[in-house]
């Protein structure tokens, strides 16, 4: 019987960056969201100029994936087509939607920005992560009223059982009005039930709650 385990998890909230429950970076409590995201980026010591073109939610998701792989590779890229990315949140892309809507209010200077518009879809953050890590497998973005571990565990487990993926990155990512909240977990098959944290609804909920403020 195939079992799945949570290999590692990362989380970012308004206070800190966590990796497997351990604090990796604590934000200055007076810093603004953009500053926090930039501090987290600088602390990684990597160069990825595209980061600065992203909206807050994509930056947040990108950082969460980056912290998860600790500067290494998230997955063996030769297997990139077998890596799934299943994300979720409540607000979809509402933070950027509101910003884009603002740009439509002035009829005299009607200049909607394609660079902003492109981020008005929930799954753009997934696209940014796929580009960074060469992930070419299954994609799905689920919207729920709150963190829905059951929906995520059920769907990801199905993907493994169907042979639609060999590894998976699953999580929650939401940046809205200056509040940051993400939790990403990398999921893989295991034959040793005792090794690590099993990927089930209870454990995924536990991880999500652990990473709460």
């Amino acid at each position: 019987m195939m079992k799945l385990k949570i290999n590692k998890w990362s989380a970012i909230n308004d206070r800190e960056v966590l990796l497997n429950g351990e604090s990796k970076l604590v934000f200055d409590s007076t810093a603004l969201t953009d500053q926090k995201l930039e501090v987290a980026y600088r602390a990684l010591g990597v160069s990825y100029p595209k980061f600065f073109k992203m909206d807050a939610q994509s930056k947040l998701g990108w950082l969460s994936a980056e912290y998860l792989c600790e500067g290494g590779k998230l997955f063996d890229t030769s297997a990139s087509k077998d890596v799934a990315l299943v994300l979720s949140n409540r607000k979809s892309s509402l933070d950027t939607d509101e910003q884009y809507q603002q740009s439509l209010t002035n009829e005299e200077e009607f200049l909607p920005s394609p660079a902003v518009f492109v981020y008005t879809l929930a799954n753009i953050v997934a696209g940014e992560i796929c580009i960074r890590h060469g992930i070419k497998g299954e994609n799905n973005f689920l919207i729920s009223e709150s963190f829905d571990a059951a929906a995520l565990v059920n769907y990801v487990t199905i993907l493994f059982e169907e042979g639609l993926c060999e590894q998976c990155l699953v999580g929650w990512v939401e940046a809205y009005h200056g509040t940051l909240r993400s939790m990403f977990a990398s999921i893989a098959k295991t034959t040793d039930e005792k090794a690590g944290l099993l990927f089930n609804i209870e454990n995924l909920n536990q991880v999500y709650q652990t990473s709460e403020l």
């Binding site: 439509l104 879809l121 799954n123 580009i131 729920s144």
Partner: protein, 373 residues
């Protein structure tokens, strides 16, 4: 023991009809829902799109999009023995922007339903469905992906029946965005044609009922969903991959249990942008499908975003039931790097197996295989 999953009934609400039957009749008459519309913003080009006209507004508390969803879902439920209160039934909602018009309309008393899950919960409650719906928002592949997700939920025994409904509005928000990308056609779109110059946006709802037991569901038909897969190009967030390799990956997964030689028809995404259609042509060529009759339905409906995948699956099912490949409206001359066999006329042919694909922003692709028993 995993049971096969079938699509057993459907409903379409669009600019060319308030039932699947009227939609199919109008498609056969080559009637397009796309027309010149009043500009929603200062524009240096005429704007064409596909907007809903008449349909019965079900609920005074509902927003425009919610009324559209409710209308379509009630019409679908009328056609099945399965009660909305069935414990083994679940709703899957596909949408890219949901009630996006609420961002502009601050006077609405439904402002919380700008949240897609709140909108879906409202629909669930109005219909008296037992379970919280699953909401999928994955750009232009949402509809196809929602059918995949629902089919997998049934196959793996979480539920026995599913309603998948996809919908989006023709909105100033989305229209201006595609305008800013210079992606809008100056006329009615021409998928895969040499002179194609961009997309038209459209609005509508497509709803399907899936079940592992067509008899219980009192299905109008039983079209099996036998293959599925999605992928990411890992290349660019707003443009398709140049070579079609991402879409090929999704199709290859969908073809796991199907010989590519048995595909009778492809219903492509075919948005009529230069890059999308070219990318698709290269993918189908790579896959050895250059001779398979192919169409895009965007010339009839425009791009209906979250509705597109579901709505286009429904028309493809009509094609299978009537053994008629729908003419790819707007296509005259080949104009893609990859060789594809675009349907220039309606083609009578026994259609047993169909490939449906979609691709979207964020580099995502998806594919489904539908089979007639």
């Amino acid at each position: 023991m995993q049971k096969p999953v079938y699509i057993v009934n459907d409903h379409i609400l669009s600019a060319i009809g308030t039932s699947t039957e009227s939609n199919w009749e109008n498609v056969l008459k080559e009637k397009s829902g796309i027309s010149l519309i009043d500009p929603l913003f200062p524009s240096d080009q005429p704007i064409y799109g596909s907007q809903l006209k008449e349909y019965e507004k079900v609920n005074p508390k509902a927003t425009k999009l919610e009324n559209m969803f409710l209308y379509s879902l009630q019409e679908l439920l009328k056609k099945t023995k399965i009660k909305s209160s069935n414990e083994r039934l679940m709703l899957f909602v596909s949408t890219t922007k949901g009630n996006i018009d609420l961002l502009q309309d601050k006077s609405s008393n439904a402002t919380d339903r700008i949240h897609l899950a709140a909108m879906a919960a409202f629909i669930q409650q109005e219909l008296g469905l037992k379970h919280s719906p699953i909401v999928i928002s994955n750009a232009c592949i949402s509809g196809v992906l929602a059918i995949q997700t629902a089919a997998l939920y049934i196959k793996h025994g979480f539920i026995d029946h599913a309603i998948v409904t996809g919908g989006d509005l023709f909105s100033r928000f989305t229209l201006s965005g595609f305008y800013s990308f210079k992606a809008l056609s100056a006329g009615i779109c021409k998928p895969f044609d040499k002179t194609r110059d961009g997309i038209n946006l459209g609005e509508g709802i497509g709803s399907v009922l899936l079940s592992n037991d067509p008899a219980v569901a009192q299905g109008a038909y039983a079209i099996e969903v036998t293959g599925y897969g999605s992928s990411n190009d890992a290349n660019h967030i707003s443009g398709p991959s140049r070579d079609g390799s991402g879409l090929s990956l999704a199709v290859q997964k969908a073809l796991k249990h199907t010989d590519v030689k048995t595909i009778d028809m492809i219903n492509a995404h075919g948005t009529a942008t230069l890059y999308n259609d070219n990318m698709e042509s290269l993918a189908f060529q790579q896959l050895g499908m250059s001779d398979v009759p192919l169409n895009s339905l965007k010339g009839y409906y425009g791009h209906t975003l979250g509705a597109a995948g579901v709505l286009e699956v429904i028309i493809s099912i009509r094609s299978m039931l009537n053994n008629t490949i729908v003419k790819s409206l707007g296509y005259e001359e080949p104009g893609t790097e990859g060789k594809v066999n675009v349907a220039k006329t309606f083609i009578k042919k026994d259609i047993r197996t169909v490939l449906k694909t979609a691709s979207g922003f964020g580099g995502c692709n998806s594919a489904l295989i539908l089979k007639k028993g």
